[in-house]
């Protein structure tokens, strides 16, 4: 088991390196193929009507004029060993993992990302609980009452949830419950530690919005899974043994139907923790998603690299947790 985890962790490191190389390649090689030189790249990071000297100064400052492998080497070194930065009046040390300094604000990237994590975490985990409980419950009920009004209705709503984009449901929710009837006015992130009630109140709409999409998916998945398992032979056997129906459904049926759900849940949650971009944008919540938008808009390489690697890390870890759980349950996976 330990070797399994160690192997996976090593693979994770390689994966993150590959991700960072890919980002570097997209950032530097594609403009270069389009005929852009580093001087032109540097003009993006100065004010308007820059003088030649000003562009050269920023090119030098950002290190854009050194060879690519050197820039990448510095980036990796900073993550492992940290780096020093000259703010003009003092030299500060940025401890590992140092994702460098923003091209725009010249402030370290890592603390900014860390301060955004609670927002995304609150949003993602809250919504996850909502959709997992809601989606699975509806799915199970629908499967057990196949063909009834409840089944048709809930599956219809689920179809709606899957097809409506988040920015649409988000806007509707805001329009109704924030602007028109201000039940949840002025959605702003308040840290859980500061005021749990306000924290929850401000997140209700984003949670519902995000959970609506996922719950719909999970309800349909659970329903399909339940329908399949409930027609298995061992369910018939269990019933024939005289087990109570509740036990048949939850212990034999749901447990088997839930395994694929757990896998998908791991992936979805990992993906969300890297930034629920559209939800955060719709509700103006400054988490990793908005951080990503901002980084891309400013062509801020250190920020883009940082948030991409963090997102990749979350996905990999979520998958790792799922795989470990699997390995515990099913020894055949431990290869």
């Amino acid at each position: 088991m330990i070797t399994f985890i160690v192997r996976r962790l090593i693979a994770t490191v390689f994966l993150l390196i590959v991700v960072s190389i890919a980002v570097y390649a997209i950032f530097f090689l594609i403009p270069r193929l389009a005929g852009q030189n580093t001087y032109q790249l540097a003009t993006q990071y100065v004010g308007r009507n820059p003088t030649h000297a000003a562009v050269l100064a920023i090119e030098e400052k950002l290190g854009l004029n050194s060879p690519l492998y050197l820039q990448y080497g510095r980036f990796l070194k900073a993550i492992v060993l940290g780096t020093h930065y000259n703010s003009g009046t003092s030299i500060t040390y940025c401890p590992p993992p140092c994702f460098g300094y923003s091209f725009k604000s010249q402030q370290p990237v890592w603390p900014q990302m860390v301060s955004d994590i609670p927002v995304t975490l609150s949003l993602g985990i809250g919504a996850a609980i909502l959709w997992l409980v809601g989606g699975v419950a509806i799915g199970v009920l629908s499967a057990l009452r196949r063909g009834t009004f409840f089944d048709r209705f809930s599956m219809g709503v689920a179809l709606l949830g899957v097809s409506l984009p988040i920015f649409f449901t988000g806007l509707i929710l805001l329009e109704l419950f924030s602007y028109k009837w201000p039940i949840f006015p002025n959605v702003t992130f308040v840290p859980l530690t500061q005021n749990p009630l306000l924290w929850a109140r401000n997140l209700v709409l984003p949670w519902i919005c995000l959970a609506f999409l996922y719950a719909a998916l999970y309800a349909r998945l659970t329903r399909a899974g339940m329908l399949e398992t409930m027609s298995e032979d061992y369910i018939r056997t269990a019933r024939a043994k005289g087990l109570r129906e509740r036990k048949v459904i939850f212990k034999h049926g749901l447990r088997a139907a839930l395994t694929p759900i757990v896998t998908i849940f791991g992936m979805d949650l990992g993906l969300l923790l890297g930034g629920a971009i559209i939800t955060e944008y719709t509700f103006s919540l400054h988490g990793l998603g908005l951080f990503t938008i901002e980084a891309v808009q400013n062509q801020d390489l250190p920020e883009i690299l940082g948030v991409t690697m963090l997102a990749a890390f979350f996905i990999v870890v979520a998958n790792l947790v799922v795989d470990i759980l699997y390995a515990v349950v099913d020894p055949r996976v431990r290869t």
Binding site: P50, G88, S115, L171, Y179
Partner: protein
């Protein structure tokens, strides 16, 4: 990027300044203190010409929402127009714009200084005297050395790349070039020879050559004093030391800024700002539609960017008389235009360019920008009406035949030897839907007289750095027309025209003279203007330059940009300051 404008009223400033300083703060609030007396009934566009809800009521939180984040909160490192407006809440540059509605708000007046600069006979030295009793937020008195240091640090373009670079180019050079205080080896870090501080309240700027607009240059926030021992270089943006009515309480980079009243600030020394709200916040990176909706719902007071509401809110506001009465549609200061490449055949022939001027459908240009309210008025001159000295004229029937005059266009095509038209390419910023629509509209209207345009869109970030106006690229790719927009750093003809029309401004990359116009008449007028202090003469130069560019048909003006601003009923002392084309943030209060 939002472009700020420059102001060229130097001379006007000199004469008017004392009078202005006297009536400085704009007469607000007729006593009454409490919840903002509604002396003026709200009406559409009312805040363009007068103060709405004048009040001296103190308290409350003034909330700004921002669709992005400032380029920097460091007064030495910002070039966004709205930030030049906003920083006055925590800084006092030597000069600033008079706080008042209407054209009055285009005047440059002393702020930290006691009067406008005194210029020497040869035009090379500008002397300012500082108010003796202005204090930083820590209680220390501001001296001329702090102003000198503030300017010096902006010479470090590696640390402060974003602000304008007028000082390095205008001040007398020294050898080796001054690298900024952080790299300066001299002991006291006061090594810029071109600025002298004979005593604590006097500062003298030595210029490389005469520059009549210098009062405008020192109105840029870069002259706001910075105490050398409190400077933290790249980190100064996290807490600039305030000289204005408010100071930083907390700043979470790119997220949330909170300002609280600066107890060391005195209203008597800063007539252009007010300290009414007990707290000012700016929330950054908000969704643009969310900002509009919160404004309308009363949860937010000001949209910081000041560029107007989005299409959804615009429809809501214009269709409701109550909402419309609390909205303003001021001139923003931009002209959106198409530059005609004066060096590329056949457009190097004046008549071919005139054919384009006549054939273009200006109504469609305006529609592409959102129509008369959201877009702006059809332009027939290069400079917009809020440039001092601008005169209105119309050489190519832009306003009389806004749909184009094909007959005249065909005559001009005959005259230039291309009776059946010609082919050329047009560049535009492909991530700006309005420019895309404009390019398509021009393609259609010019096509009617046989001028065939091929469309070449590029991303904004690299647009003028690599493509539009880059002489080599344009020649190689047959680029005859480039869409662009311009607002000056200060509102006079020099500030507006230098970068877009002077032959000396043409550069191999990052060129802003997109027409590559190198007309001796224009060049000469601009260089005369740079050394002329007399207001009337300067104003006449402004309209002459404008006229000459239009006679050259180097620029096809599109629209004078306007933005529909929502004036929250919560606000007091609210009005549009013409220089910024948005509400004056330095004087706002809340009910």
């Amino acid at each position: 990027m939002r472009r700020p404008r420059t102001i060229g009223l130097a001379a006007l400033g000199a004469a008017a300044a004392l009078a202005l300083a006297a009536c400085g703060g704009g007469s607000s609030g007729s006593g009454g203190g409490g919840g903002g007396s509604n002396s003026s009934a709200p009406a559409y566009n009312a805040a363009v010409t007068k103060v709405i809800n004048p009040s001296t009521h103190k308290g409350g939180t003034l909330t700004f929402g921002n669709t992005s984040a400032p380029d920097s909160t460091d007064p030495g490192n910002t070039y966004y127009a709205y930030m030049w407006n906003f920083v006055r809440l925590y800084t006092m540059p030597l000069m600033t714009y008079k706080s008042c509605p209407g054209k009055c708000g285009l005047q440059v007046v002393p702020d930290l200084a006691t009067g406008p600069g005194v210029v020497s006979d040869n035009g090379l030295t500008w002397t300012y005297h500082l108010q003796p009793d202005v204090k930083f937020e820590d209680g220390t008195t501001v001296t001329s050395a702090d102003v000198k240091y503030a300017v010096e640090r902006t010479f470090d373009r590696g640390l402060f790349p974003l602000g304008p670079a007028y000082f390095p180019s205008l001040l007398a050079a020294q050898s080796p070039a001054y690298p900024g205080p952080f790299k300066d080896r001299s002991k006291n870090l006061m090594g810029l020879n071109a600025i002298q501080t004979p005593n604590a309240t006097t500062i003298v700027f030595h210029l490389a050559k005469p520059f009549a607009d210098f009062n405008y240059v020192v109105a840029i926030p870069q002259t706001a004093p910075v105490p050398p021992n409190k400077d933290t270089g790249a980190n100064y943006q996290l807490h600039p030391i305030s000289t204005g009515p408010y100071k930083f309480q907390s700043y979470q980079l790119n997220k949330q800024l909170t300002l609280v009243p600066n107890t060391d600030w005195k209203a008597s020394t800063d007539p252009n700002a007010k300290q009414l709200a007990s707290k000012v916040t700016m929330t950054m990176n908000m969704n643009a539609n969310d900002i509009d909706n919160r404004l309308l719902a009363g949860d937010l007071d000001v949209d910081a960017a000041g560029t107007g509401v989005q299409a959804a809110a615009r429809a809501k506001i214009l269709s409701s008389p109550t909402l419309k009465a609390t909205a303003d549609d001021p001139i923003a200061g931009f002209t959106w235009f198409a530059a005609l490449n004066t060096t590329l055949p056949p457009l190097n022939n004046l008549h071919c360019r005139m054919a384009v001027e006549y054939a273009a459908n200006k109504t469609n240009y305006q529609t592409a920008y959102g129509g008369p309210v959201a877009g702006g008025g059809i332009a027939s001159t290069v400079a917009p009406p809020n440039v001092v000295g601008q005169k209105s004229f119309d050489l190519y029937e832009a306003t009389t035949k806004p749909n184009g005059n094909d007959a005249k266009a065909k005559q001009e095509l005959q005259a230039c030897g291309k009776p059946s038209g010609f082919s050329t390419a047009i560049t535009y910023r492909s991530d700006r839907p309005k420019e895309v629509a404009t390019a398509q509209a021009l393609q259609a209207s010019l096509g009617q007289v046989g001028i065939k345009l091929s469309l070449h869109g590029f991303p904004t970030e690299t647009y003028d750095a690599n493509f539009a106006g880059v002489p080599k690229y344009e020649a190689q790719h047959n680029i005859g027309i480039s869409l662009y927009g311009w607002a000056a750093d200060w509102p006079d003809g020099y500030g507006f025209f230098y970068y877009i029309a002077d032959g000396k401004a043409i550069s191999p990359a990052g060129n802003t003279n997109l027409a590559q116009l190198n007309d001796p008449v224009v060049n000469n007028l601009l260089s005369k203007m740079a050394t002329t202090n007399d207001t009337a003469t300067r104003n006449s130069y402004t309209s002459q330059i404008d006229m000459q560019i239009m006679k050259d048909a180097a620029i096809l003006p599109g629209v004078y940009a306007k933005s529909l601003l929502y004036r929250s009923p919560n606000l007091t002392n609210v009005y549009v300051q013409s220089y910024y084309g948005m509400y004056n943030y330095a004087v706002l209060g809340v009910k």
